[in-house]
Symmetry: C2
């Protein structure tokens, strides 16, 4: 149930750092011995080999993995890894790095569940840093750091739950837990800032904002035995 990080370069190394901070088990794969020696050895688990090679991904435990991050510097390599990984295990979560805008579509067609372009989010972040400097820092903190109490969580409303079939007003989430429902994803539909009259459905993905305690209280409320 670990994560495989392909590439130990500047981007891949950041992925590893972040997963380590979140206490998530992972293994790094890279074919460059000097890069592994310099950044990874003695710090993170790794497999020395080419992530484009089925045998290497099998050695990294892809059959038991829950996800793979394709973070090599070349988009063509990340497309190849995506195809290989989905070929070995179709339900694996694949997140891929894209350097060129045009590659995003190709990575998706290869089966990537999520594509991240450092240039695109870097550019957006530069723009927002000049427009809303403090909020940008704060959101980074909330999303990336466990130390601050407020954060954003996502939870699937699984059947059975006493909340299913109730409107947000009837569910009394804010009153009972203090957490705020900021959005609901229902299939592909995003309901942002839902009205009190919005009725919760089974399998809704609910996004909440609150303290750790409030989010835990919501989890308990959602998972309670229906009365």
């Amino acid at each position: 149930n670990h994560i495989i990080v392909c590439g130990a370069g500047r981007v891949g190394w950041q992925v590893a750092e972040q997963l380590s901070r979140e206490n998530v088990p992972f293994v790094v794969v890279d074919s460059r011995e000097d890069v592994l020696e310099k950044y990874v050895h003695g710090k993170f688990l790794y497999v020395h080999g080419d992530a484009l090679d089925d045998a290497v991904l099998l050695e990294a435990g892809i059959e038991r993995a829950r996800g793979i991050v394709a973070a090599l510097p070349t988009d063509a390599d990340n497309v190849f890894i995506t195809l290989t990984a989905k070929g070995i295990k179709a339900d694996l979560l694949v997140v891929a790095r894209a350097d060129r805008l045009e590659s995003e579509e190709k990575l998706r067609r290869a089966g990537a569940d999520k594509v991240v372009s450092p240039a695109v989010i870097g550019g957006k972040r530069l723009a927002m840093s000049i427009l809303k400097p403090v909020s940008v820092d704060y959101v980074d903190t909330v999303l990336h750091d466990r130390e601050y109490e407020f954060s954003m969580e996502e939870m699937i409303l699984q059947n059975p739950s006493p909340l299913i079939g109730k409107t947000l007003v009837e569910a009394r989430i804010r009153e009972e837990t203090g957490a705020m429902v900021v959005a609901i994803y229902r299939g592909r539909q995003l309901i942002s800032n839902p009205q009190g009259s919005e009725k919760l459905e089974a399998d809704d993905l609910v996004i909440l904002f609150g303290t750790r305690e409030q989010l835990l209280a919501f989890e308990r409320l959602a998972a309670a035995k229906p009365s």
Copy 2:
């Protein structure tokens, strides 16, 4: 009161796109005629010239600008732009792109107010995309898109304000406006998820989460004549 975007490459172009989406006036500077012709011409205002050259920055209106984004692909160039820009106008907001981790410190010493590394935030984003896929999308939406109602805003509590000297409980911000105070920056100190007993001070930078209407209600409350 515009923004100068140095570099029209992959990152700089995203900066321009985002500023354009936010209806903020800006001008792009690049020395590569083919890049300007292909991506910028007929779409954004631009100056053809080398952003490392004082005369070019003056032509881009640096004396009247409120900020500059140094988004060239080379860290050495961005350090040079930062020094040049701060030399011409010391109180200009300078946001710089860093490719290498080691450059961040150099850019700050050159005077950059904020440094953004696409590789670092790209790596973090890849990691969080595999751990909290939906929240990541949602935060992107809230921060980058005006269309969704919930968002994060930052506001400096300027003297005089009826809120100064009151605790959060006494200020009744949530009750009166619906907006949530998620953090307060006081000088360099971050108070995340402040207690009800926290007393608001002049020049506090307050970060709020709420709908556009709630945030406007807070602005009115904060700016009301003291009674």
